[in-house]
Symmetry: none
Subunit: 450 residues, 2 copies
DNA sequence: ATGGGTTGGTCAAAGGTCGC
DNA sequence: AGCGACCTTTGACCAACCCA
């Protein structure tokens, strides 16, 4: 049911292992502030998952951690609520807090509400204005360490230890309309965090020597390299030395690498792994070049609006150069700069936003050759990332600007599509006139009806 | 009444003239009487409630007395409002009172209004005439002990972070901007309303005989036909008679009509009129076929997922037919159905949403050949419509679903772009092989570098 | 049992909405 | 252009519950 929460082999597990073994990847955290000793980003993001499986199992953990934390006597006289600085009435969900914040937190969790801040996501939360922005109040609850798993969710059928109705037993019928899921809000953040971490892993992989494969199918069916980056050798050839004009060989090399990384990236999505090979192929074929293009311009160091710069220092200039110009092929780099690179810079995308945007693009229900059952699944998946993207954007800049940023970003898909079409045309020309041999792996990935 | 398009006749002016039922908003909401020295909080309670020696005086230092007063259960059955003797709905601000007086008191406090009595300041206040004198009603509120301290300011801002509308949001137009509770909302609403009205005019024009023009430039520089639809004859040839398979001539006829309408539609945007002819041409050339396509599928009566039906009953089927198939041209109608028509239906777009979506698409800063200064202007304009579109969508279905609908809609631009590219390719083939003569007007509008 | 802490549940009274 | 019936949200209070 929940991709991040299933028992084994999930992305979450793999990330967990990877991080445990090798330390966290560099990632840009959008959460600032917080002298809070309890990290809830990595460690507890996994622990949230226990909400649907913890206490009912034969867990030798007698009581949740909040109990241990708070088992020391009552809250000291005059202690204040960690959320709003009102007078605390006790330790609730692991944190000294007032009745209001306690109830607010529980209500938000059980009703799975999602709030969005109108401003910058850093509204003040105190006794007097705690009700003004629910997004920031809930954020503060999480920040100070309120723990959702202290909640006795009805998800656990075992109602042995549930608190029944205090007044009336009006359980109308046994019709169970309960969703029994973790709250949406947390899920959004979870999605963003995971994508951002994977994005970091991709950047690591970009520095490594990537093992050869025999073809796309081979790549699709082998284990994901992103969790083995520490086992891979760093490729010294692609370290930056100096800026120099890219040759066709540079471009070819980066194309191959990026397409390989695209497949490794795709495999980090649990839902993708569950598709059949045919649909996997369809999705990746539909997206590989876009992946290539987007990463190229997003990660290009900013040397002005007329240069796309690769990691190793090779650059493409706006004015088509002899080296990268093939007869019969229309130059496409001008558009990549004007319609993708420059707008990206103007929009000031964060890494998290970029990562979530790519995921939303990847799960394209209109991808050519996608089977009908996959279409609906992919559509749902895309919606997840769209929601995540919106949350990610509006958290920082508020709704009114966020709506425009989100909209401008999504409308870039038109330009991307345009550039893709031109690229495909060029590849057909190359194929036809044999004036440049396209790598078979790239060809397999980029040409429709391959 | 015949209207020529004048330099300074804005769209709003023309709509007003055309529809003649759009009254200007009243801007005269002047605060009445500003010389009353009574302040609402301290001054007034001092002068009014001390005279009465209200019970709340003794203990309001620590926390509001209403809590203790009202902590005993419900207001007794049949208790009356202390202000107006209507039936009390509970203890509000420390006093048994009715809903009306409760709301009146809060409104008065938060808006910091000051009233003046027309008489002697001792008007009767009861259920029947409680609204007659607001000064005396407010006085009575204070007199019976309503306590401003019971107000929790700042207010809970549901509208800021709500996840969905309480019920159904009605669109209220034409109110003054003084309140400014949600200023951008009102502005958005105006945008939406205008676009929706223009959309209606387009539908009227579609039924009429459209005068011939010599070319795109001629069409761009003549007065806008949309405000003269009543002067145009209805075209009886295009009224619906029966369903029949479309011929190439049908398609050709509708293409020409729709492109003409596109230009008339474009001219309704004030900002568009202010662009130079070159940029006007760029925008309309970039969008004309999309306009054609979108209207075709959106307004196609629903005869299942395999038919696009024109107004006159001509229909295109999914399986390419002899009549509409030209050698060398790839069939494009399958994609129009699968990627545009069916998704539109699934998204359940309203006319307003559709109209706003088109405006956002039209103002495309990446349109080919658009001049640099126009780009930024067009970008800003698009943002306006993006905001409007989001408002329009979320008004009905709330934010979480709205984010996804908005996102899915905007991502359709990729498919639209794709279909456009195929279409252009087909037109080039036609041009090349001369197997079908494209109308020069359409050719001028649809082919790049025309 | 008992008592002091948690939990979830309750509902009067806050503020918000929108047809009238 | 304000009114108020009706709505959602809040949080003080309370019963159920869990350990020492």
């Amino acid at each position: 049911m929940h991709m991040f929460y299933s028992m084994n082999g999930t992305l979450a597990d793999q990330l967990q292992n990877h991080l445990a073994n090798y330390g966290p990847p560099m990632m840009n955290s959008q959460r600032d502030g917080g002298e809070d000793p309890r990290m809830y980003m990595n460690g507890s993001s996994a622990s949230v998952s226990t909400s649907n499986g913890s206490s009912s199992m034969g867990n030798d953990q007698k009581f949740p951690s909040y109990k241990r934390m708070a088992q020391r006597r009552k809250v000291p006289e005059g202690e204040l609520c960690a959320v709003c600085s009102d007078l605390a009435t006790g330790y609730h969900y692991g944190v000294a807090s007032c009745n209001g914040c306690k109830t607010f937190f529980r209500r938000t969790i059980v009703s799975e509400q999602t709030f969005i801040c109108q401003y910058n996501g850093n509204c003040d939360v105190n006794k007097n204005i705690r009700c003004a922005c629910r997004h920031c109040r809930f954020n503060k609850c999480l920040l100070v360490g309120m723990d959702a798993k202290a909640l006795q969710l009805p998800a656990i059928q075992n109602d042995r230890d549930r608190i029944g109705p205090t007044k009336k037993v009006k359980m109308s019928s046994g019709s169970d309309d309960e969703q029994a899921t973790t709250p949406h809000r947390l899920q959004d953040q979870e999605i963003i965090d995971q994508l951002t971490q994977v994005e970091g892993l991709c950047q690591e992989l970009r520095r490594c020597i990537i093992p050869e494969v025999t073809g796309v199918t081979h790549a699709l069916t082998s284990p994901c390299l992103l969790f083995e980056t520490t086992d891979l050798k760093v490729d010294t050839n692609i370290m930056f030395k100096e800026l120099y004009p890219a040759s066709m060989n540079d471009i070819r090399m980066w194309n191959i690498r990026e397409m390989r990384i695209c497949i490794e990236w795709a495999k980090t999505f649990d839902i993708y792994q569950r598709l059949n090979l045919f649909d996997q192929f369809a999705l990746v074929r539909n997206f590989a070049f876009a992946f290539n293009l987007l990463n190229r311009v997003f990660y290009s160091p900013d040397h002005g609006p007329d240069k796309i710069v690769f990691q190793n220092g090779a650059f493409i200039m706006r004015q088509p150069q002899q080296q990268v110009q093939l007869s019969g092929c229309r130059p496409i780099y001008t558009r990549q700069m004007d319609e993708i690179m420059i707008p990206f810079r103007k929009l000031q995308l964060s890494v998290s936003e970029f990562a979530t945007f790519k995921a939303a693009l990847f799960f394209n229900p209109d991808a050519l050759d996608l089977s009908a059952p996959a279409k609906t699944e992919v559509f749902e998946e895309r919606n997840k990332y769209l929601g995540g993207l919106f949350t990610c954007i509006t958290q920082k800049i508020g709704i009114p600007s966020g709506v425009q940023k989100y909209g401008s970003l999504l409308m870039m898909t038109a330009s991307i599509q345009n550039i893709l079409a031109q690229n495909e045309e060029n590849m057909q020309v190359m194929e036809l006139f044999k004036n440049w041999e396209v790598d078979p792996f790239v060809k397999e990935l980029c040409m429709k009806r391959a």
